[in-house]
Amino acid sequence: MAIKKFEIPELLKDKPSHGACQGCGHGICWRIIYEVVEELGYKNKHVIFHDLACGSHGLFATHGHAFSGAHGRAIPTATGYKRIRPDMLVFSYAGDGATYNIGMQHTVHTAARNENITAIVVNNTNFGMTGGQMSATSLIGQKTTSSPAGRDSKENGNPIDIVNLYHGMDIAYLARGAVDSVPNINKTKNYIRKAFQKQMAGEGFSLVEILAPCPTNWNLTPAAALDRMENEIFKIYTLGEFIERSAK
């Protein structure tokens, strides 16, 4: 059996450190995204639209086109770009706060319009950059700096699951992966590949949610953060492919 050589994608080589915390999931996300970009041949033909917050540390970690717009607005900014240059591979990269809190109207209407872009959503169940506040996806009972006694559905409302929200939506693709283990990382990479392929085939909107650890704001060690994902988060946010429309 051939042993695969460990290679960093060209797009990430010789760039400054991305500045994520120890045990953060973002670095793995960028790695697999840019592997797919290169494998599909879009090294010179792609744009990533970052949100603000933790994810945008990746802005200067790539050699490719990257833009960071306003908090919660990466999806509409990517939409505007793609409409003018449909031959480019265009994707947004944002967190759960951006996508399901402040930018929820875009998350709903972009899917309703079936815009031909890909949204990558890194869900770590909190607002990381601002110090670990409750987000739309924080679990019931999860202690955050704005739900110190743990999220209570009566006080704080219930978590939002994009799979339920998009039920019945006529979009190209919806999947949820995770970056806690090698098998899950490989699956997630395949979801991203499929989403990009569908976009470039003109099938419409794709959203890939990636569950990622946030040891800093979960107050856990990196290893314990991975345990939490398996024991708590995957039970609420199930992994897999949920919407897949075949090419017309």
Binding site: T62, H65, A66, S68, P76, T77, R83, H109
Partner: protein, 355 residues
């Protein structure tokens, strides 16, 4: 080919945007601006452009950022309540240094207000509402033809400075029809600028930037400060009518300036020396226009459809407070030329109260 037509202000500016090369519009319906969206919803596809009716006004501006980064000339339009939502995007467009043209078709009132005409968005538009030091040129058309002519100019200014330009108009000019001459279609190359995101050549690095300065804040402050100063110096536009011998000079823009023009004719016919400074830019405020006024002028008369006289502070600054300023503020009613003349007579007689 240039052609004559009769069109509503809103439709004329939409058509003029296409002829100026705009190929991306994103916007939301709001009276009295809605005809722009409606017109472009069929017309944009005829010229091969893209239109998105957005989930809200705020979204539209962020789409513009993407489309402008792609190299397109872009447009979004609204009225005061929607323009309030524009400010997040405007701050980004300024901060990211990309061109865009925006339009505010003013309607009456704060809050929801009403749908009738007004000029109550002067402060909202010219003095900004976005975070940080955002600033942009504001053009103020007074006729349907000017709505057409200013569209091309707006794109040129926007691209010259890599900054948004706002056309501040009102319900009357937006809704009325006049005879116009439309310009030819411009040819726009979306690959023209080096700051737009296009396909890379092998070995070429992409562009990585965002809504904060990559070069650090001190360098950014110096750069933006110099840019705003250059805009203020170079982009003042105005029309002076009979100001050099005037005893009273009206200051007005848009629909109010048309009425003031009539008032100047009526006053002069009665032997009253009335003049007019018509703003063509509200920002930069045309301070230079005031240098041409008769130094013995008895007062300036701000005429606008607002409650508090939103131009007044700018007028006082432009004249360094060395001339009395009076006001005729008519909120939701188009000013009356006869009232302008009567007010001028009172100013000359010394029986009018300053603002």
């Amino acid at each position: 080919m240039a052609e004559k037509a009769i069109m509503k202000g809103n439709e004329a500016l939409a058509e003029a945007a296409l002829r100026a090369g705009c190929r991306f519009f994103s916007g939301y319906p709001i009276t009295p601006q809605t005809e722009v969206l409606e017109y472009l919803s069929w017309r944009m596809s005829e010229v091969g452009g893209e239109l998105i009716q957005t989930e809200d006004e705020l979204t539209g501006l962020h789409m513009l950022i993407g489309a402008s980064l792609a190299g397109s000339r872009v447009l979004s339009t609204s009225a005061g309540p929607g323009f309030a939502l524009f400010h997040e995007g405007i701050s980004y467009i300024c901060g990211c240094e990309i061109p865009a043209v925006l339009v505010d078709v003013q309607r009456v009132g704060g809050a929801c207000g009403g749908i009738s005409a007004s000029q109550g968005d002067y402060e909202e538009v010219t003095h900004g509402g976005g975070n940080g030091d955002s600033q942009y040129v504001v053009l103020t058309p007074a006729s349907v033809q000017e709505e057409v002519d200013m569209m091309k100019e707006a794109y040129e200014i926007a691209e010259k400075y890599r900054n948004p330009v706002v056309i501040l108009t009102d319900a009357i000019i937006g809704q009325m029809m006049e005879g116009i001459t439309l310009p030819d279609f411009a040819d726009i190359d979306i690959d023209k600028f080096d700051y737009t995101y296009k396909e890379l050549k092998d070995g070429e690095d992409g562009i990585q930037r965002g809504g904060y300065p990559g070069q650090g804040f001190p360098a950014y402050a110096a750069h933006m400060g110099a840019k705003y100063k250059a805009m203020k110096e170079a982009e003042q536009r105005w029309e002076n009518i009979e100001v050099s011998d005037a005893d009273v000079v009206c200051v007005a823009y848009g629909i109010s300036s048309r009425v003031c023009k009539e008032a100047v004719r009526k006053a002069r016919a009665k032997g009253i020396k009335l003049g007019l400074i018509r703003l063509i830019t509200a920002w930069p405020f045309p301070e230079k226009a005031f240098a041409e006024i008769n130094p013995d002028c008895k007062g300036l008369l701000a005429v606008e459809m607002s409650i508090k006289g939103q131009m007044v502070p700018d007028i006082k600054l432009a004249t360094k407070c060395n001339m009395p300023v009076y006001g005729y503020f008519s909120l939701d009613v188009v000013p009356d030329a006869d009232v302008v003349v009567e007010t001028a007579e009172k100013i000359i007689a010394g029986t009018c109260e300053e603002v």
